[in-house]
Amino acid sequence: MTLTAARRTLLTPVVPASSFPHNPGSLLSVSDLTVDSVSRLLRRATELEGQDPVLRDRILAKRRIALLFYESSTRTRTSFELASKALGADTTLISSLSSSIEKGESLKDTGLTLRALGAEAIILRHNSSGAPWLLEEATRLPVINAGDGMHEHPTQALLDLRTVLAHLRPGIGEVGAETLAGVNVTIVGDILHSRVARSNMLLLPRLGAQVLLCGPKELLPEQAAGAGPGIAIERDFDSALRRSQIVMMLRIQAERLAGLQLDLDEYKASYQLTGQRLAEHSPTAVVLHPGPIIRGLEITAGVADGPQSAILEQVTNGVAIRMAVVERALAATAQGGVA
């Protein structure tokens, strides 16, 4: 066994550094952003939100943005579209059901086709984790990840951050690594299948917050705690609630359960956010939910519509954040065209 110990010190091949993102305008993962760039995006979101619409309309006048959506979406698609148009850009929507994707065209070929049609940036929603990386590799265009499979949803995490700051740090100008020190954010429910959870758990700790993940083993594997720093698992919802200033509820993603059987009554008993639970354990916490909400399952109607809910503020913040993200995407290639 001494040999074993000796062999552990053997040199092994190094994992090469990532070459992504290829395009500085891309937003594939929240990890692509430094804390400074997060701060800049938040500031820009506020500036753009307050700007005269007529002036704002000139920022990306006639720039071409493609929205490529392989999954249905209400909030994300509409807010990206409104955000792009608010800056004057021309948008075109390609959805999997009304395009050549249905005929079997690959993501790579679809991306190259959009580029050839003059798209200067692509906003991609896709049901496969990692699809935005493939698209960026193929097109080298700025690619904005609008949700990839079970992986990430970076703009959702940014708009959630904006919502959190509005409640806990109102009026703050710049954010840094300590801005959310002492803040506990509990994310509850179907963590395994949630891209919103992954982006939030990677972003919020970088601003000093502690993320508590809460859910049953089937939906929250132990490996989740290893995803990054500042992440812990707390399976007791009430205990997590007592410690938290922010509670983020997640929908059970029935479409991704892949045969997994869940006892919904048991789930509701343990993890449903009810008015009583909230009043008892967390009477001042801010309640977030990325939507779509399934009323009566992960959250009761009373809580969703109640005074602690910031769910509709999240939606509104989405437009502001996405204006900043879209502007950033095209700013990088404003002079030189395709990078």
Binding site: S129, G130, G149, M150, H151, L192
Partner: protein, 433 residues
Amino acid sequence: MTALAILNGRLVDPAAGVDAAKDILLKDGRVAEIAGTGKLKSRNGAEILDASGLVVAPGLIDIHVHLREPGQGYKETIATGTAAAAAGGFTSVAAMPNTTPVNDSPEITRWMQAPERGAAVRVFPIAAATRASKGETITDFAALKAAGAVAVTDDGKPILKDSVMRETLAAAARAGLTVIQHAEDTRMTQGAAMNLGPMSFKLGLRGMPVEAESGLVERDIRLVGELRDAHPHLHVAHTSTAAALAAIRQARRNGLRVTCEVAPHHFLLTDEHVGFYDTHAKMNPPLRSAADRDAMIEGILDGVVDAIATDHAPHAMHEKEVEFEHAPNGIIGLETALGLCLRWLHSEWRMPLGRVLSLLSAQPAALLGLKGRGTLAAGSFADAVVFDPKAEWIYRATESKSKAKNTPFDGWTMQGKVRWTVSEGRVAYGSGQ
């Protein structure tokens, strides 16, 4: 057939216990004479390969390759796959049966070996253990063996049912064939695209648990134990987990004939190499954790691993340029195996050259009973590789002889440049003297 003399080289033939300066005369496809440098008795008229400063070794043997013929010639053909083998120093390759149609018949087994296939080196078909590799009805092992099959497997898929695996082991023992198991309990790997662990969680991909491999290996070992009196030979393909290797080690201590192979990617890479969805790091079994990777290194160094096999799995470029979860499994490996083994096993981890070469020739030959292969003793097949053991070079996938370019080792530094590969007395790779 003309004679070929390989002169002035250092002969490293672990099976014969030789590591010395020797001249070799090859004639009529066999090794005719071995003598000290300058001492061959008769080399009149022989074509001469000057191996000064080079190592001469038995041609390498890869017991796990996918040549894709019949039926998937757009990925690879027997001609292109064996050309890649020759370029990598291999003189024998054992071809897996997951072709289209599946090689479950003596006809296909013979078709693969026909001269019309244009093989550059010897191809030994491994036939399907069950009809169409569906895991239900076993094939005719005696007839397949008579047609040239050297083992049976359903590789790409496991033989999952206990009853079918038991029957396979028993029938193969009677026929004198090895059963090669692709150890994956597919009930635990539905929809999974990589190893289950922190990395799969982070990437939002479904993962294959270690137990999907080790559980099936343990089941198979139990069956081999129950059939002990019939002396079945179980060979575990592409072993990737510490738990499976531990089970194999224990089975051997218990006197069972259980062998295993490890692929270079499983002793070099981990699931971290998937990076951001690099489909060239997608294979089955998947790249595992660092602890599992370290266990593969340890198993190779301490001898529980019987062979290095590449699991050469060519795919067309467009098939790999898709969403990670939809990309086919596998990478090519024939042209990188020697360079990686010499660079890492030999130079970095100090495994003696003879032992490295044994894992790539003598041991796999013994494992599949390839008589007269894996050694250059007089009378054996004239299968040899001549390489510069010190030469470092950069592997470029674009220069591969394979039709496919799917490899995670593109741009890697290799050690040991193949100068000539000689298959049954013919120069199959390399030119100039």
